[in-house]
């Protein structure tokens, strides 16, 4: 293994950090709507701010994950990737993101939840992903036995492409005119897409573990492969837990229920085992990557417990459609996905290791963890109250119930400010360091 320049990985990671900053700005503005219902109501309202926030957050994860895979390929350096294809992939992403931002700003919607832009902007994303797939297979086709993280990256790339195309089956009237089948496919897609980017990111986590310890303990272990197949099995079949109340075929719900119960277990076990093998000098040398992976470990525990409980239909009926679902979504995207991405950014962007450079980011790291905990709790408390309201009979009006959640939304906004400051601060520091090193 030898270190190379990794400018492609850095390009994707730097762009992803910029998208994170946008996601944070739109997220803060959107959260104000919960406190001030009139806020920008007749102009830049929630129907615009929510897709802006969600899309930028998703693109942070997708571009970041692409950057991690490219950095991994560059580091392993078996067969060099085609730089032309990689740059073309990046340009296609920029075209898509620019078009999507323009569409949202001009209220030109037309897509599904999380992908509210018109299908035409999905084309450059799909093309970019095909180029990614070509580059990936070119780099790894000659390797006989893949370590688990290469399998996970391959799975993430392949299944993202499949589900992303499946995401647009609604453009055919056959699917759209059958409402229940249409909703079933929509949530099949949502479940599998998250599973696909999780494969990319967990693969990155395993790659980093081997890189930090300078071994192949994780990548080649039998347990890691068992975990990988369990993750793949969940990606394919566990999404039924999103639609327990939808009158779709019962076997979909039972399958989702049973498969969901097997989730996460091995991942925690592997990280836990890995933690004990890291020597103190390695922890110090890879200070932030190690810390962010440990933070991801903590948030896996928290979200794993919640996910398993929420996947039990008799409990899900209380949490479904409440802010507990939002707490879970935010807890996983920030607590797990973003922590792994920051671990990768600190590692691949070669953040300086001297004491003076780590003091401020260290403060931001702790602000991030504390803010996320309060943020997650406030959403769960709001969700519990809404869940009680949902089951009340007679029921007060929706507006009265929303007013009663105001204290939790205030807490949600304040902790959101802390999150934005911490995540934004870390992103700016990383971009500044990269730019400083790149400039002559």
């Amino acid at each position: 293994m030898k270190q190379t320049n990794n400018h492609i990985g850095k390009l994707f990671l730097g762009s992803a950090l910029l998208l994170l900053l946008l996601a944070l700005c739109f997220g803060l503005l959107a959260s104000l709507t919960y406190l001030f219902p009139d806020f920008l109501k007749d102009s830049f309202n929630f129907t615009t701010l929510r897709p802006l926030h969600v899309s930028m957050a998703m693109f942070w994860i997708l571009l970041g994950a692409s950057g991690c895979v490219y950095s991994g390929i560059q580091y392993l350096n078996k067969t060099p990737v085609s730089e032309k294809l990689a740059y073309l992939q990046w340009i296609l992403w920029i075209i898509a993101i620019s078009g999507i931002l323009f569409s949202y700003f001009t209220k030109n919607f037309g897509g599904r939840e999380y992908w509210e832009f018109k299908p035409v902007w999905a084309l450059p994303i799909a093309l970019a992903w095909i180029l990614f797939l070509i580059n990936f297979f070119t780099a790894f086709k000659k390797i006989g036995e893949w370590p688990v993280y290469i399998w996970m990256w391959m799975t993430g790339i392949l299944f993202f492409l499949f589900t992303f195309i499946e995401n647009y089956l609604w453009i055919f009237p056959y699917f759209r005119s059958h409402f229940i089948t249409d909703m079933t496919i929509q949530w099949k897609v949502n479940g599998s897409l998250v599973g696909a980017w999780n494969q990319l990111l967990y693969g990155t986590a395993f790659f980093l573990m081997d890189k930090i310890t300078n071994t192949q303990n994780t990548g080649k272990s039998k347990l890691a492969f068992l975990m990988y197949f369990l993750g793949l099995f969940n990606l394919m079949f566990n999404w039924g837990h999103h639609i327990y109340t939808l009158p779709t075929a019962p076997f979909i719900k039972y399958l989702g229920y049973i498969v969901s119960m097997t989730e996460w277990v091995f991942f925690v076990k592997i990280i836990y085992s890995w933690k004990s093998t890291v020597q103190s000098f390695q922890k110090h040398y890879h200070y932030f990557p190690y810390r962010f992976l440990m933070a991801a470990d903590f948030w896996v525990f928290i979200n794993m417990g919640q996910a398993i409980l929420m996947s039990i239909p008799a409990i899900n009926i209380y949490t479904h459609g409440t802010h507990i679902t939002v707490a879970h979504a935010m807890g996983t995207t920030i607590g797990i996905n973003s922590m792994i991405l920051f671990a990768a950014c600190f590692e691949f962007l070669n953040f300086p290791k001297d004491k003076s450079a780590i003091r401020f980011p260290n403060g931001l790291f702790w602000l991030l963890q504390l803010s996320l905990l309060v943020f997650w709790l406030s959403l769960n408390l709001a969700g519990i109250q809404k869940g009680i309201w949902q089951l009340n009979s007679p029921q007060s009006s929706f507006a009265v119930m929303m007013d009663s959640l105001r204290p939790y939304f205030t807490l949600f906004f304040i902790s959101g400010l802390g999150l934005a400051f911490a995540l934004g601060g870390l992103a700016v520091i990383l971009m500044w360091q990269t730019w400083k090193k790149a400039s002559p």
Binding site: K41, F46, I180, L246, G321
Partner: protein, 138 residues
């Protein structure tokens, strides 16, 4: 025992494809057909105005407004009220100045969501296995 990743991956992928195909073909095998052309077009209006960012169908969607699956058959609510709210807006929802034909299609879409089932959690009971099912309605 040696793990053979390629074989396992291929087997699982085949199962996944078969499962996906089974879901795509559900409308062909179903005896009850809900919706049709107007539902399909109405869903496009739902997406065009991004109703999903604030509202839910079967508890899936945004959290700022109420679930609209059964809005047309909810006590004290009907088509007239829904039309009026879309045009005038509410404390939080802006008014939508949509053409009459689009509004008609949106109403058709909401009629088919209403006819498709019940989303109210109070209408579900837990079974012995922890699964839930809707109470039977007369």
């Amino acid at each position: 025992m040696k793990i053979r990743p390629r074989l396992l991956f291929a087997l699982l992928s085949l199962l996944f494809l078969a499962y996906s195909l089974c879901i795509y073909l559900a409308p062909v095998m179903n005896t009850v057909h809900l919706g049709g052309h107007k539902t399909a077009e109405g869903r496009l209006i739902w997406q065009k105005y991004n109703c999903q960012s604030c509202h839910q169908l079967y508890g899936l969607g945004g959290y700022l407004g109420p679930d609209l699956t059964n809005i047309l058959s909810s006590p004290g609510k009907d088509e007239k009220l829904v039309r009026a709210m879309i045009y005038s807006g509410t404390r939080q929802m802006p008014s939508f100045n949509m053409p009459e034909d689009e509004l008609n299609l949106l109403i058709e879409f909401l009629k088919s969501t209403d006819a498709s089932g019940i989303s109210d959690p109070r209408q579900f009971k837990a079974t012995n296995y922890g699964m839930i099912e809707a109470y039977e309605t007369n």
